[in-house]
Protein backbone atom coordinates (compact mmCIF):
# COMPACT_ATOMS: atom_id res chain seq x y z
CA UNK A 1 0.00 0.00 0.00
CA UNK A 2 2.85 2.34 0.77
CA UNK A 3 4.15 1.87 -2.72
CA UNK A 4 1.02 3.28 -4.21
CA UNK A 5 1.43 6.61 -2.44
CA UNK A 6 3.37 9.08 -4.56
CA UNK A 7 6.08 9.38 -1.96
CA UNK A 8 9.44 10.12 -3.49
CA UNK A 9 12.01 7.49 -2.90
CA UNK A 10 14.32 9.78 -1.07
CA UNK A 11 11.90 10.25 1.79
CA UNK A 12 13.05 6.98 3.32
CA UNK A 13 16.64 7.99 2.93
CA UNK A 14 15.79 11.40 4.24
CA UNK A 15 14.24 10.02 7.35
CA UNK A 16 17.04 7.62 7.98
CA UNK A 17 19.82 10.05 7.29
CA UNK A 18 18.09 12.92 8.96
CA UNK A 19 17.44 10.88 12.05
CA UNK A 20 21.07 9.84 12.19
CA UNK A 21 22.28 13.37 11.72
CA UNK A 22 19.88 14.71 14.31
CA UNK A 23 21.02 12.13 16.81
CA UNK A 24 24.65 13.02 16.18
CA UNK A 25 23.93 16.70 16.70
CA UNK A 26 21.53 16.22 19.55
CA UNK A 27 23.47 13.57 21.42
CA UNK A 28 25.99 15.87 23.12
CA UNK A 29 23.20 18.23 24.16
CA UNK A 30 21.19 15.38 25.66
CA UNK A 31 24.28 13.99 27.34
CA UNK A 32 25.07 17.33 28.93
CA UNK A 33 21.49 17.71 30.11
CA UNK A 34 21.53 14.16 31.43
CA UNK A 35 24.67 14.79 33.39
CA UNK A 36 23.30 17.98 34.85
CA UNK A 37 20.08 16.17 35.75
CA UNK A 38 21.97 13.33 37.35
CA UNK A 39 24.11 15.66 39.42
CA UNK A 40 21.02 17.43 40.65
CA UNK A 41 21.73 20.71 38.91
CA UNK A 42 18.47 20.38 37.03
CA UNK A 43 15.12 19.36 38.43
CA UNK A 44 13.00 16.95 36.44
CA UNK A 45 10.73 19.63 34.92
CA UNK A 46 13.76 21.68 34.04
CA UNK A 47 15.37 18.71 32.38
CA UNK A 48 12.22 18.18 30.31
CA UNK A 49 12.07 21.87 29.48
CA UNK A 50 15.59 22.05 28.20
CA UNK A 51 15.13 18.85 26.28
CA UNK A 52 12.07 20.21 24.56
CA UNK A 53 13.56 23.66 24.11
CA UNK A 54 16.49 22.03 22.34
CA UNK A 55 14.06 20.15 20.13
CA UNK A 56 12.08 23.28 19.35
CA UNK A 57 15.08 25.44 18.52
CA UNK A 58 16.83 22.64 16.66
CA UNK A 59 13.74 21.84 14.66
CA UNK A 60 13.10 25.50 13.91
CA UNK A 61 16.70 25.99 12.81
CA UNK A 62 16.40 23.00 10.55
CA UNK A 63 13.13 24.32 9.18
CA UNK A 64 14.52 27.70 8.24
CA UNK A 65 18.09 26.80 7.33
CA UNK A 66 18.10 23.49 5.52
CA UNK A 67 18.21 23.73 1.80
CA UNK A 68 16.19 20.65 1.13
CA UNK A 69 12.50 21.30 1.46
CA UNK A 70 11.65 17.90 2.83
CA UNK A 71 14.29 18.24 5.49
CA UNK A 72 12.89 21.62 6.41
CA UNK A 73 9.41 20.14 6.71
CA UNK A 74 10.74 17.46 8.99
CA UNK A 75 12.38 20.17 11.02
CA UNK A 76 8.92 21.67 11.48
CA UNK A 77 7.69 18.30 12.74
CA UNK A 78 10.48 18.23 15.27
CA UNK A 79 9.76 21.75 16.42
CA UNK A 80 6.05 20.98 16.70
CA UNK A 81 6.70 17.96 18.83
CA UNK A 82 8.94 20.07 21.03
CA UNK A 83 6.19 22.64 21.38
CA UNK A 84 3.80 19.86 22.37
CA UNK A 85 6.25 18.87 25.06
CA UNK A 86 6.36 22.46 26.28
CA UNK A 87 2.57 22.44 26.47
CA UNK A 88 2.74 19.35 28.64
CA UNK A 89 5.14 21.15 30.94
CA UNK A 90 2.66 24.01 31.13
CA UNK A 91 0.02 21.55 32.29
CA UNK A 92 -2.06 21.60 29.12
CA UNK A 93 -2.32 17.99 28.07
CA UNK A 94 -5.21 18.75 25.83
CA UNK A 95 -3.29 21.33 23.90
CA UNK A 96 -0.30 19.04 23.62
CA UNK A 97 -2.57 16.45 22.10
CA UNK A 98 -4.03 18.95 19.66
CA UNK A 99 -0.59 20.14 18.73
CA UNK A 100 0.69 16.66 17.96
CA UNK A 101 -2.42 15.73 16.03
CA UNK A 102 -2.79 18.90 14.05
CA UNK A 103 0.84 19.70 13.43
CA UNK A 104 2.61 16.41 13.57
CA UNK A 105 -0.21 14.82 11.64
CA UNK A 106 -2.24 17.22 9.58
CA UNK A 107 -0.10 20.18 8.75
CA UNK A 108 3.06 18.29 8.00
CA UNK A 109 1.35 15.74 5.80
CA UNK A 110 -0.41 18.58 4.01
CA UNK A 111 2.87 20.34 3.46
CA UNK A 112 4.51 17.19 2.15
CA UNK A 113 1.65 16.61 -0.23
CA UNK A 114 1.98 20.18 -1.37
CA UNK A 115 5.67 19.61 -1.94
CA UNK A 116 5.04 16.54 -3.97
CA UNK A 117 2.31 18.03 -6.07
CA UNK A 118 4.46 20.98 -6.91
CA UNK A 119 7.39 18.58 -7.49
CA UNK A 120 9.49 20.99 -5.58
CA UNK A 121 11.94 18.27 -4.63
CA UNK A 122 13.07 17.68 -8.17
CA UNK A 123 16.46 18.84 -9.12
CA UNK A 124 18.88 21.05 -7.29
CA UNK A 125 17.12 23.90 -5.62
CA UNK A 126 18.08 27.28 -4.37
CA UNK A 127 15.86 27.82 -1.40
CA UNK A 128 17.11 31.12 -0.13
CA UNK A 129 16.77 34.53 -1.65
CA UNK A 130 19.43 37.14 -2.00
CA UNK A 131 18.14 39.21 0.81
CA UNK A 132 19.42 36.57 3.21
CA UNK A 133 21.90 38.95 4.83
CA UNK A 134 19.14 41.43 5.49
CA UNK A 135 16.99 38.60 6.75
CA UNK A 136 19.80 37.52 9.01
CA UNK A 137 20.22 41.01 10.39
CA UNK A 138 16.51 41.46 10.87
CA UNK A 139 16.24 38.07 12.55
CA UNK A 140 19.06 38.86 14.97
CA UNK A 141 17.66 42.28 15.83
CA UNK A 142 14.15 40.92 16.28
CA UNK A 143 15.41 38.10 18.50
CA UNK A 144 17.39 40.60 20.54
CA UNK A 145 14.46 42.93 20.94
CA UNK A 146 12.01 40.21 21.83
CA UNK A 147 14.29 38.41 24.27
CA UNK A 148 15.30 41.71 25.81
CA UNK A 149 11.72 42.72 26.33
CA UNK A 150 10.82 39.38 27.87
CA UNK A 151 13.71 39.48 30.28
CA UNK A 152 13.24 43.12 31.18
CA UNK A 153 9.74 42.70 32.51
CA UNK A 154 8.94 41.66 36.03
CA UNK A 155 6.15 39.17 35.66
CA UNK A 156 4.17 38.57 38.82
CA UNK A 157 3.79 34.89 38.15
CA UNK A 158 1.30 32.66 39.87
CA UNK A 159 1.66 28.96 40.44
CA UNK A 160 1.04 26.69 37.53
CA UNK A 161 -2.12 24.69 37.93
CA UNK A 162 -3.75 22.14 35.73
CA UNK A 163 -6.87 23.07 33.85
CA UNK A 164 -9.11 20.06 33.59
CA UNK A 165 -10.50 18.81 30.31
CA UNK A 166 -14.04 19.30 31.56
CA UNK A 167 -13.51 22.85 32.65
CA UNK A 168 -11.77 23.67 29.42
CA UNK A 169 -14.54 22.07 27.40
CA UNK A 170 -17.18 24.11 29.18
CA UNK A 171 -15.25 27.28 28.66
CA UNK A 172 -14.51 26.53 25.05
CA UNK A 173 -17.97 25.50 23.96
CA UNK A 174 -20.05 27.72 26.18
CA UNK A 175 -18.23 30.92 27.08
CA UNK A 176 -16.32 31.04 23.84
CA UNK A 177 -19.02 29.42 21.78
CA UNK A 178 -19.31 32.28 19.33
CA UNK A 179 -15.62 32.52 18.47
CA UNK A 180 -15.67 28.78 18.16
CA UNK A 181 -18.46 28.97 15.59
CA UNK A 182 -16.65 31.71 13.76
CA UNK A 183 -13.53 29.57 13.74
CA UNK A 184 -15.54 26.79 12.16
CA UNK A 185 -16.54 29.25 9.46
CA UNK A 186 -12.86 30.03 8.99
CA UNK A 187 -12.19 26.36 8.45
CA UNK A 188 -15.11 26.17 6.05
CA UNK A 189 -13.75 29.09 4.07
CA UNK A 190 -10.31 27.54 3.94
CA UNK A 191 -11.76 24.24 2.82
CA UNK A 192 -13.93 25.68 0.10
CA UNK A 193 -11.20 28.02 -0.96
CA UNK A 194 -8.54 25.34 -1.19
CA UNK A 195 -10.79 23.07 -3.23
CA UNK A 196 -12.13 25.73 -5.53
CA UNK A 197 -8.84 27.41 -6.14
CA UNK A 198 -6.72 24.32 -6.59
CA UNK A 199 -9.22 22.56 -8.83
CA UNK A 200 -8.23 22.19 -12.42
CA UNK A 201 -10.54 24.21 -14.63
CA UNK A 202 -12.03 22.81 -17.80
CA UNK A 203 -10.38 24.44 -20.75
CA UNK A 204 -12.42 27.06 -22.57
CA UNK A 205 -14.88 25.36 -24.84
CA UNK A 206 -15.36 22.38 -22.59
CA UNK A 207 -18.55 21.90 -20.67
CA UNK A 208 -18.94 24.89 -18.39
CA UNK A 209 -21.20 23.26 -15.85
CA UNK A 210 -19.61 22.22 -12.63
Amino acid sequence: MLRRLPLPAQIDRTITLGGLLASVVAAPYIVVLGVLFATGELSAPEFVFWLNAGLVVGGALAAVLLRHIVHAALGLVGASLGVAGIFLLLASEFLALVQVLVYGGGVTILLLFGLMMTRATDGPIVTDGAQKPFAFGAGIVLAGLFVGAMLDAEWDALNVTVVGFRELGIRLYRDFGIPFEVASLVLLVALIGAITIARREPAPGEDDSK
Binding site: P45, L111, F136
Partner: protein, 102 residues
Amino acid sequence: MIPLENFLVLSAILFALGFYGVLARRSAILILIAVELMLAAVSINMVAFAAYLDPTRFTGIIFAIFVITVAAAEVGLALGIVLRLFRERASANVDEANSLKW
Protein backbone atom coordinates in the same frame (compact mmCIF):
# COMPACT_ATOMS: atom_id res chain seq x y z
CA MET B 1 9.50 25.54 39.15
CA ILE B 2 10.64 26.73 35.74
CA PRO B 3 10.59 30.50 35.54
CA LEU B 4 8.14 32.03 33.11
CA GLU B 5 10.98 33.82 31.33
CA ASN B 6 12.29 30.51 30.02
CA PHE B 7 9.15 29.94 28.03
CA LEU B 8 8.95 33.49 26.85
CA VAL B 9 12.53 33.55 25.65
CA LEU B 10 12.04 30.25 23.89
CA SER B 11 8.98 31.64 22.19
CA ALA B 12 10.81 34.84 21.27
CA ILE B 13 13.62 32.88 19.67
CA LEU B 14 11.17 30.69 17.82
CA PHE B 15 9.31 33.74 16.53
CA ALA B 16 12.50 35.42 15.35
CA LEU B 17 13.60 32.22 13.62
CA GLY B 18 10.24 32.04 11.90
CA PHE B 19 10.48 35.63 10.79
CA TYR B 20 13.98 34.97 9.51
CA GLY B 21 12.58 32.06 7.51
CA VAL B 22 9.91 34.26 5.98
CA LEU B 23 12.50 36.81 4.98
CA ALA B 24 15.13 34.42 3.71
CA ARG B 25 13.20 31.69 1.93
CA ARG B 26 12.07 31.83 -1.64
CA SER B 27 9.78 28.86 -1.87
CA ALA B 28 6.17 29.51 -0.94
CA ILE B 29 6.05 26.27 0.99
CA LEU B 30 9.14 27.10 3.00
CA ILE B 31 7.66 30.47 3.81
CA LEU B 32 4.55 28.71 5.02
CA ILE B 33 6.66 26.50 7.24
CA ALA B 34 8.29 29.60 8.68
CA VAL B 35 4.89 31.17 9.33
CA GLU B 36 3.90 28.00 11.16
CA LEU B 37 6.92 28.45 13.40
CA MET B 38 5.84 31.99 14.20
CA LEU B 39 2.39 30.77 15.08
CA ALA B 40 3.85 28.03 17.27
CA ALA B 41 5.76 30.73 19.10
CA VAL B 42 2.50 32.55 19.69
CA SER B 43 0.93 29.38 21.09
CA ILE B 44 3.79 28.93 23.55
CA ASN B 45 3.39 32.50 24.68
CA MET B 46 -0.35 32.18 25.08
CA VAL B 47 -0.17 28.99 27.06
CA ALA B 48 2.68 30.19 29.22
CA PHE B 49 0.86 33.39 30.08
CA ALA B 50 -2.29 31.43 30.76
CA ALA B 51 -0.50 29.06 33.08
CA TYR B 52 1.49 31.69 34.96
CA LEU B 53 -0.43 34.91 34.88
CA ASP B 54 -4.08 34.52 34.04
CA PRO B 55 -6.15 33.90 37.16
CA THR B 56 -8.80 32.21 35.05
CA ARG B 57 -6.17 29.95 33.48
CA PHE B 58 -7.98 28.98 30.37
CA THR B 59 -8.27 31.99 28.04
CA GLY B 60 -4.75 31.62 26.74
CA ILE B 61 -5.22 27.92 26.19
CA ILE B 62 -8.38 28.49 24.23
CA PHE B 63 -6.58 31.19 22.31
CA ALA B 64 -3.85 28.70 21.49
CA ILE B 65 -6.44 26.19 20.28
CA PHE B 66 -7.77 28.81 17.90
CA VAL B 67 -4.29 29.71 16.77
CA ILE B 68 -3.51 26.11 15.95
CA THR B 69 -6.82 25.74 14.12
CA VAL B 70 -6.30 28.85 12.08
CA ALA B 71 -2.72 27.87 11.35
CA ALA B 72 -3.84 24.55 9.95
CA ALA B 73 -6.55 26.23 7.88
CA GLU B 74 -4.06 28.70 6.59
CA VAL B 75 -1.69 26.00 5.42
CA GLY B 76 -4.51 24.30 3.55
CA LEU B 77 -5.71 27.46 1.88
CA ALA B 78 -2.25 28.70 1.02
CA LEU B 79 -1.32 25.34 -0.47
CA GLY B 80 -4.41 25.51 -2.64
CA ILE B 81 -3.28 28.84 -3.98
CA VAL B 82 0.28 27.60 -4.43
CA LEU B 83 -1.04 24.65 -6.41
CA ARG B 84 -3.04 26.92 -8.65
CA LEU B 85 -0.07 29.11 -9.23
CA PHE B 86 2.10 26.09 -9.86
CA ARG B 87 -0.29 24.96 -12.51
CA GLU B 88 -0.11 28.31 -14.21
CA ARG B 89 3.59 28.90 -13.93
CA ALA B 90 5.18 25.57 -13.09
CA SER B 91 6.93 27.05 -10.11
CA ALA B 92 6.35 27.40 -6.42
CA ASN B 93 8.97 30.05 -5.99
CA VAL B 94 7.61 33.29 -4.76
CA ASP B 95 10.11 35.37 -6.65
CA GLU B 96 8.81 34.05 -9.91
CA ALA B 97 5.37 35.29 -8.96
CA ASN B 98 6.25 38.89 -9.64
CA SER B 99 4.26 39.95 -12.63
CA LEU B 100 2.45 42.39 -10.39
CA LYS B 101 4.80 45.15 -9.49
CA TRP B 102 5.20 48.80 -9.20
